[in-house]
């Protein structure tokens, strides 16, 4: 069981092509990291996989446990087990965190079955506490007025509540201070399991020091140009991405 991406090319709708034939397989139980210079297509890849309407697939396929990902709507992809922790989590005024999460969890239940409110709140509060979040945030509108770090924690909270099979973390470390980075990483590490995979997108070694990847990919100009182990993280930290340009 894996997330398998084959020869994926995609572009901004009516605009520039960003992804140029990506091949990637992430088996269950593994943590993969994607690194790459600005503009290489990392966030585009995550959005294309989740079905963001600003992008269109030109060619290629993506399978989620054997299911055709691109044949599914955005919400179906989520319910099938895909999760994206956003680089810039969105504010949704007037919709409380609790109602937002309840709607997302209710959508996963069989028709006619109601979410148990008591156990829902109990679970949500305990996960918030684990992430160092004030439980009063249940009644706050989603991300509205949150600091950058609070928004990132809130996205990780959603991941912990929804328990996806495949989670993409798009620069989750940006905007987090040292303590928050550790707390959020602890939360992610606690979710590592043989039945779950992570795709961690980041520029920096600091996140990957906490969430140790099994495989590291380097994305450049819309293609995976390197696949290696953790030593690649060390190499990039010391030398930057200049080695990619010299090989062009």
């Amino acid at each position: 069981m894996s997330l398998i991406i084959r020869n994926l090319s995609a572009r901004v709708k009516d605009g520039a092509q960003i992804l140029n034939g990506i091949n990637l397989e992430i088996p269950k139980g593994e943590v993969h990291a994607i690194m790459g210079p600005n503009g290489s297509g990392k966030s585009t890849l995550s959005k294309v996989l989740c079905g963001h309407p600003d992008y269109e697939v030109i060619e290629g396929t993506a399978e989620l446990d054997g299911q055709d990902l691109f044949a599914m709507s955005v919400d179906e992809r989520s319910r099938a087990g895909l999760f994206l922790a956003f680089q810039y989590p969105v504010e949704v005024p007037g919709v409380t965190n609790a109602n937002f999460m309840r709607a997302a969890l209710q959508a996963r239940l069989p028709k006619g079955e109601e979410l148990d409110a008591v156990s829902f709140y109990k679970t949500m509060r305990s996960k918030m506490t684990a992430l160092g979040m004030d439980t009063k945030f249940t009644a706050r509108a989603v991300n509205e007025g949150f600091s950058g770090g609070e928004k990132k924690r809130n996205d990780v909270l959603q991941m912990m509540m929804l328990e996806p099979s495949y989670a993409i973390l798009d620069e989750t470390d940006s905007g987090l201070d040292v303590d928050a980075l550790r707390i959020v990483s602890d939360g992610v590490n606690a979710m590592r399991a043989p039945f779950r995979s992570f795709l961690v997108i980041t520029h920096y070694k600091r996140l990957l020091d906490y969430i140790k990847p099994d495989v590291v990919h380097v994305l450049y100009k819309g293609r995976i140009v390197r696949t290696a182990g953790y030593e690649m993280v060390e190499h990039i930290e010391q030398n930057g991405f200049d080695f990619l340009k010299s090989e062009e």
């Binding site: 079905g51 709507s73 919400d75 949704v92 937002f100």
Partner: protein, 370 residues
Amino acid sequence: MDFPQNMSMEEAFALAEAEAKLKQALTESKARFENAVIPNRLNEDWRFGRPHKHAVALAELLQSDTPSQGEATVQHAGEAAVPVTAEDDDLRQTEMLMPTIGSDALLGMHLKRFGDGYALYIEEDTKEPILLTYKTDTLYTPSTFIMVAPGVKAHVIEQHYGCEKGTIFATRNIQVAEGAELKVELQPYGCARCMSITNIQNMGGKVVHYTHHFACDWAREETVAEIYTPGADNQLFSANKLDLDQVLDQHTRQIHHVGGATSNLLYKNVVDDNATGIFAGNIYVAPGAHNTDAYQSNRNMLLSEKATIHSLPGLEILADKVRCSHGSASAPMDEEQLFYLLSRGIPRDEALALVSHGFLQDVVDKFERS
């Protein structure tokens, strides 16, 4: 004129002067009703509100033999509520003097049917909201008068039930004394046509006014919120979901006769299908009304290509040293917000409902916090 025996000369002069002013104002009001024309598309205050269809039909109904017929009830008012009667000249005069925003002719017709509704003389804090309801399935023209005594905290909810085919044309005169706080809500439900003209006279208290229209085919709402005393605070809110062919035509004036006071307005609409929302707001700061804080914001979310919004915010500032702003934004639903909900597995219909409901809930939250 008879003066009380213990009245000083100065007090007698002041009283005589007030009497003369009132007489003059009433004479002028009579003239404005006589000279007023039925609203039409050439009338600046009516041009988007389909007057050719609705204002004309309303005027015809008011000029017809159809009696004003409806049911008025009041709950939780104790001794504060008094039924309005045709013989109550003071209240009639108050209605005669109330300002309109382009509807003098219609107000004049409303006055000819004067004599129904409730006057609330609130002299004690309300423990639970006073609930006024006006209900009809034909034509009903009630008048509401709310007077809140100094330092008193009150909450009033006025509901209009039109039973799908009824027309309700209501007037509301609100006077709030120094240090008083009034929360007042207007909630029209299911009217074929619903018109309301509201005048708030704030004498140094706080008024938080909220309107919410639900399933009315056509509604016209005029709100003139006046400040007469420094320290007064008027907060005006409205949140509405419009669909099908509904029309909601909202006009507001925030008038600062004196400085050192605050008014704030936030009106939001979610407009779907073939519905139309109109907002025309004006902040008026009188000469010399310095240190005024006045804000006005109209926000609209359009959910269909045929949904229409006409938004005309405005400022008329004749004083220096003021802080005033006005703004308007109308746009489809934010795609990023929708995508965020979808990406969590929430089905599209439910995501649309949550985001649009949240857009309006923001107003409700602000009203409740005020």
